[in-house]
Subunit: 218 residues, 2 copies
């Protein structure tokens, strides 16, 4: 057990989290464009100026769950044992570990809301993609620092594939979660994290097959 963090720090994290929760709730109810920052700040009783000290823009606040996951992924990458096994497997493991660390039930709910918003709001989707790419750059940097990588396009392409697989997995996961309200059991209200992990694993496994895919005309 670590010693309690400074009082001030806790307050910061509390307002930060309050802003995230309020944003996901309000955006979910009235849509991203249907809520002004002034309203959001009013809700949390914080000035707009303060909002921008916590987040870079209106989009950022609603993407926090995904951001946290990727941040954990980069941390994981620093310490994961890097013997000579395939890079794809290495990255896959790191992401699954990060997911396991950061994702509890509350996270799953937030992540679902976040993804839904990024689907329905093009500016959020754009920011989301941009964030994935910048994370990917950090990923390449970490790999180059820890490993003896070839200096060509392949590591970067591999990173793009990982992101593609992740995004596709989240998409399928969120879509499946949407078909839930018909289920009578109240015990399974939200999609579980393991389900997302399984989807991601499957999607990564499908990567090689997609390269050689053929199809006949109708």
């Amino acid at each position: 057990m670590t010693t309690a963090p400074p009082l001030r720090e806790r307050k910061k994290q509390r307002t930060r989290q309050a802003l995230i929760d309020a944003a996901l709730r309000l955006f979910g109810d009235r849509g991203f464009g249907g809520v002004t920052l002034d309203e959001l700040c009013e809700e949390v009783e914080v000035s707009k100026r303060t909002f921008f000290r916590y987040f870079e823009g209106k989009e950022d606040v609603a993407m926090a769950p995904l951001h946290d996951m990727w941040r954990a992924f980069l941390v994981e990458l620093e310490t994961i044992p890097a013997d000579g096994r395939p890079l794809l497997e290495l990255m896959e493991t790191a992401l699954l570990t990060a997911l396991d660390r950061v994702a509890d039930d509350a996270w799953a709910g937030r992540a679902l809301l976040s993804y839904r918003l990024s689907e329905s709001t093009s500016s959020m989707n754009a920011h989301n993609l941009h964030f994935c790419e910048s994370t990917m750059c950090s990923l390449i940097e970490v790999l180059h620092r820890r490993l003896d990588l070839p200096d060509d396009a392949r590591p970067r392409l591999l990173g793009d594939m990982l992101v593609a697989a992740w995004r596709h997995a989240v998409g399928g996961w969120a879509a499946a979660a949407g078909d839930r309200p018909a289920v009578p059991e109240p015990a399974v209200p939200e999609p579980a994290v393991p389900e997302l992990a399984a989807r991601f694993r499957d999607t990564v496994a499908a990567l090689p097959g997609s390269l050689t895919l053929t199809a006949d005309p109708r």
Copy 2:
């Protein structure tokens, strides 16, 4: 030879192109954030209201060259012969053909400026990625219409790989073009389109190898 398009249509295309050229020039000189829309519109002698009838936002106007290329790609996809050859090869060919159709020397210059801007301006990069993704959705739609595709993740993943390869090729092309000013010959002022095509071909060829990539610790 097609009959001359209506007079009015020509005027529209002229103002549109004028806006694009002025935007690339001004943004290139003073940076994306250093130019207001009012200034840009003043330059072309057009009202801001009119600007927004041609483009969806400030970012759009500077991404026109890349947009044109992808639009041509989608057109090409509709008519390209689709026998049972690998989808990746199909898409690669369609993109190379589209590039060949749309890209002359003037295009190369504009595309270079456009890419530089998207590198230095995060909001442009975000919009660029978003546009690539939405193009990808259209791509999948076209393929499903013309071909008997499996209904799983693979076509989509393949599309993401194509985009990744394209983006990486453009990045390398633009970087190589930046190292030109030292060359004495004035006959090669701008990077040629064939060079970009070759880079794209190479990057696509590197896709399978990236999946099986391994690396040892330093």
